[in-house]
């Protein structure tokens, strides 16, 4: 019951936010340079007035502003994001086509960064004031400060060009015709570099957070009690400290979802990973504004879905939330 209400509340909020983003998108289209019809005609090479008017009519650009807004909003409510001006394909189809690759990449990077970050952070917390602990934190700071796209490029140079261990581009080997397990392995091989480079930055964040959070939790009374009971330090660290330290990390992980999308745009661009991030880069290069805004809306929706999931995980992990819900 409590969960149902929590979910309903969050969904209601999500719809409002998405509605605002749609209006925001519409305003941005109006600000975009040039008449979309002229852009389209320029591409086709024939810019006579009649053809322009025809195009305008076809895309509804001859209607008054509020009618256009209404068409736009009601269209998106029915998952109609219009056409890509360049490719002539519905934006929604393009995005759906690319979404699985992005989910695979960000999902892998998310799990990887969370696991490695929590392990590294706990190790650093257990080694406060020791050189090994400081080394972990120094590394985390360096990864935090490194531009993601640069790590991606450098990993291509080292692991792909120089060592020749891993493929640098794409989702699978084109023309190899792998099926079944061979295909899975092939994709996994292609996934290693993009997922690792995307994970590094977030791993740095989780490492720092885990360490701080564990040091805080170690000061709590229940930890002192556990120590007074004579429990082994290892058990205290795992059962009492880490468990409680995880809560703020879940919250933080939820907040990082938006950053993850941004990171995916850069990683996918470098590795030619056929996800929506790469699609955004392509839309950008061709100034395909409708496609660009469609992807923008979609990435925001993804973040909201992810936020709702983290909220639910959080309320499951911390039973105290139940009472405060609603």
């Amino acid at each position: 019951m409590v969960y149902a209400r929590l979910i309903l509340m969050r969904l209601f909020k999500a719809v409002i936010v998405l509605f605002l983003i749609v209006i925001f998108n519409f305003l941005l289209i109006q600000l975009a340079p040039g008449d979309p019809a002229a852009i389209l005609a320029g591409e086709a090479g024939a810019a006579d007035q009649e053809f322009l008017d025809q195009l305008r009519e076809r895309f509804g650009l001859d209607q008054p502003m509020y009618v256009q807004l209404w068409h736009y909003v009601s269209g998106i409510a029915m998952l109609d994001f219009g056409y890509s001006y360049r490719l002539g394909v519905p934006v929604f189809d393009l995005i759906m086509d690319r979404l699985p690759a992005t989910l695979l990449l960000t999902g892998t990077a998310f799990v990887l960064s969370l696991v490695l970050g929590i392990v590294a952070g706990s190790m650093a917390a257990a080694r406060v004031k020791k050189p090994s602990g400081s080394l972990i934190m120094a590394l985390a700071l360096v990864f935090y400060a490194t531009p993601l796209f640069w790590v991606a490029l450098m990993s291509v140079v080292v692991f792909s060009v120089y060592l020749g261990w891993l493929p640098a581009y794409g989702l699978y080997t084109v023309g190899a015709g792998h099926t079944g397990l061979a295909l899975v392995l092939d994709v996994a091989k292609h996934l290693v570099l993009p997922a690792t480079t995307l994970a590094l930055f977030f791993m740095a964040i989780y490492t720092r957070m885990t360490r701080t959070s564990m040091l805080d939790a170690a000061q709590q009374d229940y930890v002192k009690t556990a120590r007074a009971k004579g429990l082994k330090p290892g058990i205290i660290q795992r059962r009492h400290v880490l468990r409680n330290a995880l809560l703020p990390i879940i919250t933080l992980a939820g907040l990082q979802a938006g950053q993850m999308v941004g990171g995916a745009i850069l990683t996918e661009t470098v590795f030619a990973w056929p996800g929506i991030g790469r699609l955004m880069f392509e839309a950008l290069q061709q100034r395909d504004y409708n496609l660009l805004l469609g992807i923008f809306f979609f990435s925001a929706a993804l973040v909201i879905v992810f936020n709702i999931i983290t909220d639910l995980v959080y309320s499951l992990a911390d039973p105290r939330i139940k009472k405060g819900a609603a």
């Binding site: 936010v17 600000l31 340079p33 490194t146 640069w150 450098m154 979802a257 938006g258 745009i265 850069l266």
Partner: protein, 277 residues
Amino acid sequence: MSFFARFAQNRGALVGLIILLLIIAMAILAPLLFPESPWRMVQRPFLPPLSQDGFPLGTDTMGRNVASGLMHGAWVSLLIGLVSTSVALLIGVPLGAIAGYYGGIIDDILMRFTEFFQTIPNFALAIVLVAIMQPSITSIVLAIAIVSWPPVARLVRAEFMSLRNREYVEAARLVGQSNTTIILRQILPNTLSPIIVLASLMVATAILLESALSFLGLGDPNVMSWGYMIGAARTVIRQAWWLSFFPGVAILLTVLALNLVGEGLDDALNPKLSRER
């Protein structure tokens, strides 16, 4: 202990400060050491580093001097980082101050507004804004400011909420000072330390954002920037790794230095709160 003594106690912060000063020196010396435009083609392309006098870092795909680009790029990165952070402060500080000071419905509305901006994926929004406004220093600065003000508003709001009922604020109210005066003269000065710390970290993030935008081809076409250099060399990474390598190191060092300085400022300005490191 003096401010600087506390700052210098954090050895990392000192290292950060030195790196930062070197990069500022690079930015200042760029027009003196390389008076020619970094866009000019001056040698044959793809010259490897250290292979010819005057081109310590080689030349790029168009025969432009990489060392010159690196020096001129320092100026752009620092400028965009500083200006966009200032603009973000100009948006975030007033919003946070008003929300925290007045509370109630004003706070509610302003916080929903802030939350909205926090939900939208940062980098995607920045891309869309720059693409629509057309790439230029102004549009990049605005886009970065628009995506980075929410944490400022939240921080300032929290500070104002905890300070608004302090005795000295009550006293100012009794004396008959206006709300504006109390906000600006009584409370705001007491929130400066955390704002300064946050701002130094924001400059770092802004530099990262700017480099990522110009990497994607959304940089100002008239200024040489580190992100652009990496982006332009992306497709020739197999033949000429150094074209991407050096600008990346420059970004890394700058961002790292700013983060270290931020931590040092935190220690120096909030001595009570400074954690053990």
